[in-house]
Symmetry: D3
Subunit: 245 residues, 6 copies
């Protein structure tokens, strides 16, 4: 577990979408911490103010999200789609997100998984982001005429709970055992005071990460699920595998 | 498509298993060419002389395999299990292969896929190799007491035909479009004269590779199927994805 | 096959949703008969009047549904969503059904399966009910501010035909061989005269039930499909299994 | 590879749906050529003018589609749903397509596959067509009161790319090696000049067809994916299988 | 339901394998009756005498099998592998069956399904037959040197119970509603007196067939599961589909 | 979390099979503790002495297993099959285990899961136990002539690691939050000193149990995987479901 060197190449930004103010942090905050530490820019797009949740006011929750993003080294914006617990799958939403993709021009995109048996907004947002990533490439889309098309490199899904992990996609385990990453991530989760005071979400996430770490031969790891096959130029890029037990 | 630089780090060797003298070449020869070009050592273990095939004598087929391995920059050995078309799943075989794994001490292992609806020897060998990779790690195995345990880094499956591609594992596409790789690979396949004169196997493989290349945004690519989740330390290792159509 | 004793504990009510006036009866009427016989309250919510069907007027069909519900010992209400064969997946529908869940406060909920290759209204209603069961728990949903949140215990899917049986969920077989259950159920199905006079639906359901009964070691059984893992406090709750052939 | 005799029986028409002006040709044009050659009438319904694509104006693209349909011996109509890249799953669309099914009264229907990870319009159209094929049978649908119900015989999905091939449906391989079929098909694909000049789509499709041909023991074959089980009166109808490698 | 005309072409024989004396009759006897009625030769290979079953002596059971085969118009032979309830997956068995395939030279082969959760002999025999069908084609197999290689046309699996139906292969429904077929089949099942007197196997099979018939739009149908994609020269061969409910 | 009352009815014994001395404890020890606490007899059959493992001598490991079984309130026997890391799937093994099933006559049987990508002995033992449970029912098996046939009620699989959890079977979550159960289980795991001193297996299992507990709405739960559908006489048996996040 050696410190993470800043990359000497400029890394394309990472863009993460969340349906609610805390989804990104709970689902993949450790990966964000890892990437920003290495010098990659990260930007969050939050698609509701969490106004249908049992705990916390919209104002509180947005403030918590801003604090958490800052802790993770990410910028953040809040957008309006249909409101918390009201999200619908609409092409207009996909075009709106495609416009953001063309503006931010990320290499890597993170979105909630498509598994339906979770908060309904999560899987819907995942599908909207997936479609947005295609639409961002099509030159003739009149609503986006002013911004040049953009092709992302990779779309990964994150899972806010174990139930949301796709069973038909092989995971990639991101090792987050480098010093300070788990601490930063934990702080970002705990910034969502309105949520963590009600339920033991932080423990849930750390337990998942420990299990994946044990699989990966490190102390902590987070599973991401690539939407499309990975492409490598050499197997040297894939020198580690998870098979420790 | 720039030339492939020799790696400045020493890469752990690659070890590929084939049930018949031509399986490795037809299933993943382009990947072998790519890796040896970059300076990685590669070794082939062939588990029969192809004596049950319709075309070619065992002597001819072994000579073809030796020629092909040389063209790909790999060393080769022929071992005896149960004979062509007679392979059985036996622990004794897995222990024998585990012994080879402890001797060669590879980072990456390649084996035929586990899909059963193909030549029966292929899926059986894949399962034997998978189990061998575990046994190689166990310290108390008395048959292997003399060689120290070894844990491989990654086991990938290759598919000799489209039918053999696993549907439950997400593929990794290895870009083989660098200059000369496809030509070297084709020469290695054509070294199996006894087989290629009877059926158009080379065209089959090149067509598959073109389709995967079109997915990967390059001219040619080969799909491998990782047995276990990939582990990365940074998403920068996975900067490309297949989503071109 | 001994008679069913009334439960001495008060059982939480069962709430069943049907897209058309006869779906609940044909899909799981035998289970309803079994549960009401044991003293559990059952309530049906029918989401159209069957006005797009080939046989029967809306008025006839509603009358048939009321008669069938009475035979099964259930109460019934008819609600308006988008009309027969016009159902759309809308959050507004899920919120409406969540309101009903908060009013009825059931332990067990039954809904048509999510398999899409059947009457389009069935799978859509199944998804709306699944999402409604989540929304019913969220405290901040402004449309439902007046009724306290409610968490159901279990959501089961029923399949109106064999095609609609999910392949990715393990079934639970409910033994309905106790005296009188099949007769009551058959009477309830036959109450849908407009439908049964046109096609042999009753025979279809009884044949399915006989097959499941043979699996379960009883004369008749109905398969339900739990949306979430079952939770037990002891294996004594699960003392029977289906493995008779 | 003997010439295709005109059928002496009148074959029920084939109806193919495409989301964009070139989808049918690229996805299953060879099958169309094969069927019209045998005397079956074929009709295309194109659901957008391709106005969101990167290449070609709507006017050009419609002209290309008309030319391609004529080369394949098919009639064609262009309809308006939500526009290219804007398609939504709406019951109103399914009813509109059900009206076309009642007018054309086909035996065989072709639609894009339901796999979601492709152009979003494709999977959506596939689902709309599948639902339309059910609605076309229901007698009480008031919007379609004037046209008598119609039950199609078979719904097949086609896949515009390998990614779109369903993994949960067993394919049927249609042998298109009879003289002239591939040439006619290629001409129809090349009629889409605005598309083929930008990317090597024709090579992609021919490579896929060669691979399927090698599986089927012929020079070229196209995979279709039946939505429902096939029904035969005798195994003599199924005298060939794909198992050549 | 018109009578079945004798085919004017000579149909390649059908070869069915059963692990026990009654498996073929219970699993697919109706298909056998249908095919022999049309003039196709059928041959049964029974791989044990049922000596581990609870009911019937080996002698009785073989006599029952001979009677049933005669009723279905099939010839029969009994072979020895490892004995009832003792079958192992051995290459020697696959080669033995490959020898039978080369002798009988069938077009169509029927074998028990590969689903493992049934009588262990069934799935094992299915796998042995599948591998035998490949080995029968390989020219160099020394044990079979005296008989010329043979490539079958199609391998179908049958399922003795619902549990044994594969979930990953799309079924083909064989309509057996032509006059007399069900009666002949029932007589063949009832010839297994030692089995049918103990359990209601005949009712089980007829119920399954009725359900498949209702799917197929006929009175009775049997589901078979093709091991490999079907190949057709025209969609006219597939003019019927199952989608009646 | 109230104390567990002794059952007033006599519960059929539980029989658990382990490939190595610690598999049962690590895979499902908490369930054993829960069941014996309620008065159910439990018996362990251990099929090797762990002699191929990296840590611990066979003598030590057997002693650890005996101590752990005693802590869990279970009896134990050690049997010889092919030795640690040498297990083969043989009918003779299945018959041997069927003999044990006839002797112990359990209601519930626990075996390692069938997922192949784990220690090879685990999946093999799972398959042998599954087949043994069928053979135990067949009256004519000559090796077991002296003991009367026995039909178990339920076969559940346990998973020693997350990787071994079957993806095609819906889990049942057993709540083990009653006082003292986790402590007893932990003591039993820690009895395997030779293993726990080398790796953090106990933490791994507790983390898994916490995650399942969070799903189940309790502090700790263990997932078991039923081989066959559950059969219930009333939905009152299934009054809890896992859907807490």
């Amino acid at each position: 577990m050696k410190p993470i060197p800043k990359s000497k190449y400029k890394l394309a930004p990472l863009l993460a979408f969340g349906a609610h103010p805390d989804d990104i942090e709970f689902g993949c905050g450790g990966v964000i911490a890892r990437e920003t530490r290495a010098g990659r820019a990260a930007h969050f797009v939050i698609c509701s103010r969490g106004e249908a949740g049992t705990h916390g006011t919209p104002k509180q929750r947005v403030a918590e999200a801003r604090k958490a993003a800052a802790l993770l080294g990410a910028t953040i914006e809040i957008i309006e789609l249909d409101g918390d617990a009201h999200l619908e799958i609409r092409t207009a939403h996909a075009i709106k997100l495609a416009g953001i993709l063309r503006r931010v021009r990320p290499g890597i995109v993170l979105a909630p998984s498509l598994v339906e048996n979770q908060h309904p907004d999560h899987a819907k947002l995942g599908r909207i982001v997936r479609d947005a990533a295609r639409l961002a490439r099509y030159g003739g889309l009149k609503e986006l005429r002013r911004s040049p098309p953009h092709a992302i490199e990779k779309l990964f899904y994150y899972a806010v709970t174990s139930e949301a992990e796709p069973r038909d996609l092989s995971p990639v385990l991101v090792d987050i055992s480098a010093p300070g990453i788990v601490a930063t991530w934990t702080a970002a989760m705990e910034a969502h005071v309105s949520q963590t005071s009600a339920r033991n979400y932080v423990e849930l996430q750390i337990a998942r990460t420990r299990l994946n770490g044990l699989r990966a031969g490190s102390s902590h790891a987070i599973a991401l699920f690539p939407n499309d096959p990975l492409v490598v130029e050499s197997l040297a890029q894939l020198s580690r595998g998870a098979r420790r037990f």
